[in-house]
Symmetry: none
Subunit: 197 residues, 4 copies
């Protein structure tokens, strides 16, 4: 009796609209002020009541998680791209870690909730993290198999390294070269043969 035909009930068009509008605003907002900005302010800026925001995203982490999903897909695309590239497994891992660092640097202050999510494990963010840890492990295993990465390194550690590297760049460090250096150090940290040695 509905307009259905298939699955789609009533997507609550307005709800969807609101949800995505909130996401847009939040993206903008977090980009400007970092992920610690006021949720109320986001709601206001989105032109919705605070309750509406809370209905859609029960917590800051939930909002963040939703926000990251879009980027998740980018990251996933990048992963696929990396896997298609004609380079060895070690270089692949390196590129993946670079991608991870970029992802983690999407917003100011993002590394912190991600790190926390790893130990809370009830957080909406932990799923996301877990996924990328797994991916990291896959890349890592290949590199280890090919003798390109130390056998004692674990995917989780690399992920944490990426977080940490992102965190360092977090502050308006003005010093971009440090970020580069850290990436390089990180690489020569897990790689059997350092990249610039």
């Amino acid at each position: 009796m509905d307009e259905t035909g298939m699955g789609a009930r009533k997507p609550r068009m307005d709800a969807q609209r609101n949800r995505s509008h909130i996401l847009e605003v939040a993206e903008q907002f977090f980009s400007e002020q970092g992920v610690a900005g006021s949720l109320d302010a986001i709601a206001k800026r989105a032109g919705v009541g605070a309750g509406t925001l809370y209905r859609h995203f029960a917590s800051r982490d939930a909002l963040l998680a939703a926000l990251l999903q879009a980027r998740d897909q980018e990251l996933d695309a990048r992963r696929a791209a990396i896997q298609r590239e004609e380079v060895d497994s070690t270089e692949r891992l390196a590129r993946w870690l670079d991608a991870l660092i970029d992802w983690v640097t999407a917003f100011d202050g993002l590394p912190a909730p991600l790190r926390d999510a790893l130990s809370e494990d009830g957080s909406p963010l932990s799923l996301t993290c877990q996924g990328f840890i797994t991916t990291t492990e896959e890349f890592l295993r290949a590199a280890q198999h090919d003798g390109g990465a130390h056998p004692w390194v674990r995917g989780r550690d690399l992920f944490l390294s990426a977080l940490a590297t992102g965190w360092v760049s977090g502050a308006a460090m003005a010093d971009d070269s440090s970020a580069q250096a850290l990436r390089a150090m990180m690489r020569s940290g897990w790689a059997i043969r350092g990249n610039r040695e």
Copy 2:
């Protein structure tokens, strides 16, 4: 001119006593609650007015800096000890970085203000940081000279690495092995020959 001879005002004594008492309390407090705790609470716990605290320490960072000085001395002692040890320059650098990480982990949440201090450079903490960066550079230079460290690594980068490593351990990660792994990765990152390779 002081309280010494005759009329004996209590000024200096008071102030000193207050200052050190505040420091004791703050040390305790930050140990328990991390460095983000309320300054008011510290003042109250120390039994002084908020104004008094502000007179002695103009900002949270100033308090932190003063607090770290005690530890600075420990760290400096450790540095001296390391320099007396009968190991090569590479191992010395490694031990110094370990010491640095320990120092940075003194309080929960300490790495963040330190990182920020590096880019603000008006902060009371930057002096402290600068000192340790310099020390790090000395160790590093020796190691590089002996071929134990990559020539492209800078002291500042190692300091940041130490901060980052401390930051990662910050959360109740429950996973102590990660911390170890990060230290190892960090080492094989700057070292020409990794430690467990």
Copy 3:
């Protein structure tokens, strides 16, 4: 497309089912959290939309009233039982008041809306209350006629006393003896000869 026979609307069945399910859930909920709990939560727990809840019960009081009806019947049964018992009219009144107190204590915080209903008189609860006041009056009249109750007492007052007694027990007073004492005091309050005198 429906599950029934032919044209088959689901109206009545659905509605009835919903209504009673809401009631079940609300009963459970109010038992746990007291009558001041969130209606939204009840709707959610019942698996219906907030609107549905409101359709069935226009207000919290309406829900409460419906909820009490089930208990009303119990109470009515108890009234009938009391009237069949082989005791004098005074004892009957006493037992009825005990029954009333039990009824009023069904949920945490119930006495308050009942009290309010008495003075608002547009409330869905006032009907319920009125009924019991009337019953109380009947018992009371008999007792007064037999010389067992003070002539100056009114049914309404006894009802209020029951409410008040229930209200006192409302808090987790931990002190059950107080509840007993209050019942006793209440009895010797209206009775011509106190029960433990």
Copy 4:
């Protein structure tokens, strides 16, 4: 060097002023809206920041307790007056209970926090309550000794009765006669010989 002469340091005149102004406003406010009114609103009305109110009164109960102190003194005065009156101990108890009921009715909704305070016992209100329970016990003991009150009644129960009686009157009952009736019932509840019998 102040106006003192003895202990009084600096009473923080402005603080005192604020404090009492808040109290005045709160008194007014609670009289109008009942004790459940918004604390923020009180702060605003008093022309102080919310923080100021919280500094002076850490919780609603604390504010209430302070507010009641003025009345406490009245009540205490009344107690003294009653004790000077030329009536027997039973009548004294009756008058004391009346005073208690009046006190408890000072603000709309006051009985509830008082009741809760009795079981929480960390509440700023419990002290006040305890005091009056004790006083009640003294009056009661005298009456019991003179054969004017049932021996099985306890001071605590009478206090609760007073609370309950006040609570009943709490709603805009419009029915003043009920309040009277309840007082009478309460009296004939504890008294060996009812007052209107």
